[in-house]
Symmetry: C2
Subunit: 440 residues, 2 copies
């Protein structure tokens, strides 16, 4: 079930943290996303936090104050741990109770303001960790536009396979190499085999790319052998983040048949530190519809709630910051702007339900990627592979440089936000990663 | 480096546990494989154990006796934990030191025999758990015979793809649904689309299969961005087990393009409880050679040690026990017999090195599957898909039943052993799993 709007979504609500009220922050009091952080200066223990303006409310410090009661008190205790897995596994009632309590505590006229100010840590002084121990990471392929664009490059005669409009296509990814925003990684080395060649060579990837995705953190899981029905699917979703599925296209092209991507993807995956809860996203839901000529989803992927509000209006942006831009303090170049609603052919609930239709078990903290979120129009493609048509058309950057694929020193920055009449603007923070030269 | 033979491999060595000396047990004193177990009657804490004959040496109990010193003492303390991850991460020197200490303690004339007997638990009174928390599970495709047999069914015109003899093909699997021998799972439900059909249906799989594989447990890992060279690859391997990669062929056929197997495999994977250490396998190593017409492995996959001793002589067997056989106390029917050496086109070291050539990080307790180990001759195929040629030729079982794919109630039992002149016979124990009816 999607969440009903409640007092935590009220756009008139203000916080005693002034920076939360400026109308441009990603983190007004209506957002309240979760992270795991520590203080960068003293490297103290990692623990849960919630963003408010340019601050983090330290949930371990809050837990010690014993200001909360009941379910919310139990929930904040779980958030004091170095990963949010136990909190995620507590379920929707607990997440909601804590959100409501935090919304009230952080609101403008709170009697505990003085005490709570002592629990704030400036985001500028924080370092982040993965918000959960990720047991399994699954990547989907949920944008029909991306599937079509990529299909044209790999299989010009057969871009969209017959199963695409029936099956939410997914595959398992590597959990060990998922890291939080700020990740820097070496350009991967691997086997590549040029067109017309029959003997591969081992070299640093020359076609290194990013993929703009949303990450989906599973909250409560299911036992092996049980399924999560579409009506209940969103109850199992803790929240969403940004995800960059770095991809080495030349390694991918040679290795991916017949069992799918492997070393082309598992060298690094970057996610934003903040998980925007499903409840925070309630004001930005939309009807989920399909083109009239397309098959309707099979019954196990269909519910009234999913049709009425399965989609989410999230604006997605990707920026490229080259080494030269950093040196000259130039602004990063925006490579794309699109929206989750336009890009996604499957809803979050459908991904979860499909994943478990065979009895596969999900666990708290499992991560799903949506797959590259490319929209239907020029300028909304979520990967260089699509923007440059497989490297054939270079992109001209704002500072005069050009790119077909990523070069050493390039940083890719992803941002997302939700804006709707009658609701506060909320954002996802930043998902940033940088390419280092290959190791020799 | 492969291990040199030492006193622990001496075939004349006997244990004070008489059942270890009968010449037919899988677990003579030369084996000493590791598990995690508890007593089934009282459900006490899971902890590490080592097999000796029909007994388990309780390593948590042993640790309390303080009979060991130095590295071995630290190692046995780690084995008292509910998973072996920390022990696995200690590395080759620790594994070897503990093996030597255990070999001496369990030998025929040990002064502590009386004390040690109190640390023995009969295997018949044990229940097993996964020996490690599996962070990531990767499945390879390392038998060229399997790849060719399956390729013929899925792509008759193009059975073996051009990358096969260059790339150790692998993909990521699901860690959450890996369970230990004894696993019973419901027949998976999913989308299938018959030949000539354009609209899929959702139903219980009608083409449920097993896959005979070896599992490889990673000991010490590597940092993200670093590689494990072929010369050092085996130093990172803790040991081997049996692995059944249950597969729903009809679900696989519809979903696997373009990103590989997903729901067709992730509903269940079963491994044997015992990890046979790489050191225990030292007497059974063989030269690794390729057919003269095949390309030699690329330099990053080549080393003198790998060529001289990269292969391992392990006999592999699969048995089918139907519900009818159980009721009539008939023997299980042997479906296949083959060997790892004949089946594997890539060595264990090559799989590890390839996996990390791009900087992908491995962690202690990660699990690799070899892929289905089918040999070159009739009777050595490791899956019903191959034995029945895609379900076209039914197998006649010893009790008069027939099978094309697995039926409800069927149990699949895998066994493995190493036999060589001048060495003790060692075995892997049993990997057993059973199909329950689909949930409705």
């Amino acid at each position: 079930m999607t969440y009903a709007l409640n007092e935590t979504h009220d756009p008139k609500l203000k916080s005693f943290v002034a920076s939360a009220n400026d109308g441009v922050t990603d983190f007004p009091i209506q957002n309240l996303p979760f992270c795991v952080f520590s203080r960068a200066d003293i490297h103290d223990a990692f623990r849960g936090g919630v963003a408010i303006g340019d601050q983090i409310l330290d949930l371990a410090a809050l837990a010690k104050l014993h200001l909360l009661s009941g379910v919310a008190a139990q929930a904040v205790q779980a958030c004091a741990e170095p990963t949010l897995n136990r909190f995620m596994g507590m379920g929707r009632e607990s997440w909601s109770a804590l959100r409501l309590a935090l919304s009230r505590l952080l609101s403008e006229k709170n009697q505990h303001e003085g005490t709570l100010r002592a629990c704030l840590v400036p985001q500028s002084e924080a370092e982040y960790a993965l918000p959960a121990r990720i047991g399994d990471y699954t990547d989907f392929y949920a944008s029909v536009h991306h599937a079509t664009n990529v299909g044209k490059l790999f299989r010009p005669d057969n871009p969209l396979l017959p199963n695409y409009k029936w099956v939410p296509i997914g595959y398992h990814g590597r959990a060990s190499s998922v890291a939080v925003s700020g990740q820097k990684f070496h350009r991967p080395v691997g086997q590549v085999c040029g067109a017309g060649q029959t003997v591969p060579v081992v070299q640093a990837s020359k076609r290194l790319d990013y993929e703009l995705e949303m990450g989906i953190f599973i909250g409560t899981g299911n036992a092996l052998g049980e399924t999560i029905t579409i009506d209940r699917a969103e109850d199992h979703v803790f929240g969403l983040c940004l995800l960059n599925d770095w991809s080495a296209r030349d390694i991918q092209g040679w290795e991916y048949q017949p069992l799918g991507p492997f070393l082309a993807k598992n060298f690094a995956t970057t996610i934003s530190p903040w998980i925007i809860t499903t409840e925070a996203l309630a004001p930005y839901r939309s009807a989920f519809t399909r083109p009239a000529d397309d098959p309707q989803p099979l019954p196990y992927l269909t519910s009234a709630d999913n049709s009425a509000a399965g989609a989410i209006d999230i604006t997605l942006e990707v920026f490229l910051e080259t080494a030269q831009m950093r040196e000259s303090s130039a602004n990063a170049h925006r490579l794309s702007q699109g929206s989750l609603r336009d890009a996604a052919y499957w809803t979050v609930g459908q991904l979860v339900t499909h994943h478990t239709v065979n009895g596969c078990n999900m666990q708290p903290g499992d991560l799903l990627g949506t797959g590259t979120m490319s929209g239907p129009v020029e300028g909304s493609q979520g990967a260089l592979l699509e923007i440059t048509e497989g490297g054939k058309k270079a992109v001209a950057l704002s500072n005069g440089e050009t790119r077909t694929f990523l070069e050493d020193g390039d940083a890719v920055i992803m941002r997302a936000s939700c804006v709707r009449e009658g609701a506060a603007r909320i954002g996802f923070g930043e998902c940033r990663g940088q390419v280092l030269p290959a190791r020799v």
